[in-house]
């Protein structure tokens, strides 16, 4: 069974249909890169996976469970209780373009907050685990700093550690390096590369083609709210079949 099953998902913002029947399966341990022009619906799709956005049709399952919905006796989807969805979300890590570290908490507190508050991990245990995670992203010496005292690249690595502290079975990355100065991109990609090598299941929206080429098992091309093409990076980059993929790659490579 795939870890993530996305089935004919439709999503509208008012009149605007942003996802027009997206289907996509992601196997456990797989690294999938989502490509597509601005406005094609990549962010929206990621946010639907952990139910930060509602969907209007279709369904999304993670580890065999619907996220954000229960199926009623009539077969229709109904929004599920916040507490239940939250518990499912806790196992899905998300890394944002703008880091979104908690500004009022230190680096260490950023990483311990959710394990302690959500998973009820004892503080001492959460701390020692947080320090290990910070060490693994090379930031143990910054544990007592506040986010605004760190560079963008450091903040994003903390954000990754914060997500990993919840022991997620799936990590979602939404353009994790596009708010960074060019010289800081490498350190974040390196962290993600090591995470991929450790076997984490990852869905990554990025314009970093080298990352897609070297790390992705599969690349998905989206346009206008639909998946128009997918395949292993070597194939998709060297021999794209859809004209819009060709145009997109020509622009970006």
């Amino acid at each position: 069974m795939p870890l993530v099953e996305i089935n004919n998902v439709h999503k509208r913002f008012g009149e605007l249909e942003v996802l027009k029947g997206v289907s996509l399966d992601v196997e456990a341990g797989e690294v999938v890169v989502l490509l597509g022009a601005s406005g094609s619906g990549k962010t929206t799709l990621l946010r639907c996976i952990n139910h930060l956005e509602t969907i209007h049709d279709g369904e999304i399952k993670v580890a065999g469970e619907l996220v954000g919905y229960t199926r009623g006796k009539d077969g229709k989807l109904r929004e599920e209780k916040d507490a239940i969805t939250s518990a499912k979300r806790a196992r899905i890590g998300m890394v944002f373009q703008r880091f979104n570290l908690f500004a009022h908490l230190t680096v260490l507190e950023n990483v311990t907050e959710a394990p302690v508050q959500v998973l009820r991990v004892p503080l001492a245990e959460a701390r020692s685990r947080a320090l290990d995670l910070l060490a693994s992203v090379g930031l143990k010496d910054k544990a007592g700093y506040y986010p605004h005292e760190l560079s963008g690249g450091q903040q994003q690595r903390v954000a990754i550690a914060r997500a990993l502290a919840m022991e997620p079975r799936l990590m979602l990355f939404d353009e994790p390096t596009s708010a960074l100065d060019p010289e800081l991109v490498g350190e974040v990609l390196e962290t993600m590369r090591r995470l991929a090598a450790s076997g984490m299941t990852m869905i990554v929206v990025t314009h970093e083609m080298s990352f897609a080429r070297e790390v992705a098992d599969r690349v998905i091309m989206m346009a206008d709210g639909q998946v128009i093409e997918e395949g292993p990076p070597a194939q998709l980059f060297s021999a794209p079949s859809h004209p819009r993929t060709k145009a997109f790659l020509a622009r970006i490579l």
């Binding site: 944002f96 908690f102 500004a103 009022h104 907050e113 544990a143 506040y146």
Partner: protein
């Protein structure tokens, strides 16, 4: 002008104002507590995704900010018993405190609402993505950051409230000002008595200002890096 200094000092050092001063402070704190609770409710309603709640908040705001507070005070004390056939007939102290709190709640709604919207929505999103429920994200992540914006104007409102309690003289609540009016209506030493009354308000304002400073030092000033024990231990 003749300044009757003996009347002044006699009034200043008499214990007459002690209980009224405590009454004033008590009304201020209870009314503000009520206002802050209403303000949280009002702000959450104003930002709710349910239109009905937003309308409710808007109506509350519009009404209580639009009607003079003195009118509201007299309403709670004098009009409500008549309106309800004496079913609700509150003592002046309680009627006055409720009136002040309800009115102030409208202002606190606006202050708290602007505090909440000053927090980057990404903070809440990140909290939700980590599995916090709406309530927990609000309590642990959004509210602590909003407080930095909410606390300074709330301090001002506290001090304004301290002085607004003087309006309760209209319904004969024994606070500082009405105590003063009782005295000068007997001895006609208007100036001396008002001078003493002012001194009491100034003293209480100074007290609240000090309290405000303390609280702001604790919550509002951006935390500086505390040379972390952890970084020393493990760094």
């Amino acid at each position: 002008m003749v300044f009757d200094s003996s009347a002044f000092f006699e009034t200043l050092f008499s214990s007459t104002f002690l209980i009224p001063a405590l009454t004033t402070l008590g009304i201020t704190f209870v009314a503000m507590a009520l206002a802050i609770m209403l303000g949280f409710g009002g702000a959450l309603a104003a930002l709710s995704r349910y239109r009905g709640l937003r309308w409710l908040a808007q109506g509350y705001l519009g009404f209580f900010r639009g009607v003079p507070v003195l009118v509201q005070i007299v309403f709670w004390y004098n009009a409500l018993p008549v309106l309800t056939d004496n079913a609700i007939n509150l003592p002046a102290l309680i009627a006055g405190t409720i009136a002040l709190g309800l009115n102030e709640g409208a202002y606190m709604t606006e202050i708290i609402r602007s505090g909440l919207i000053s927090v980057d929505p990404g903070q809440r999103e990140a909290a939700r993505a980590l599995g916090m429920t709406k309530a927990k994200a609000m309590r642990r992540i959004v509210m602590p950051q909003a407080l930095k914006v909410i606390i300074p104007p709330t301090g001002n409102q506290f001090i304004a409230m301290l002085k607004t309690t003087s309006l309760l003289f209209a319904i004969a609540v024994p606070e500082i000002f009405s105590t003063g009016t009782n005295i000068y209506s007997q001895n006609f030493k208007y100036f001396e008595v008002l001078f003493v009354v002012s001194i009491w308000y100034l003293a209480l304002t100074a007290l609240l200002t000090g309290l405000q400073k303390l609280i702001e030092r604790r919550f509002v000033i951006r935390p500086r890096r505390n040379t972390p024990i952890l970084a020393q231990e493990h760094g």
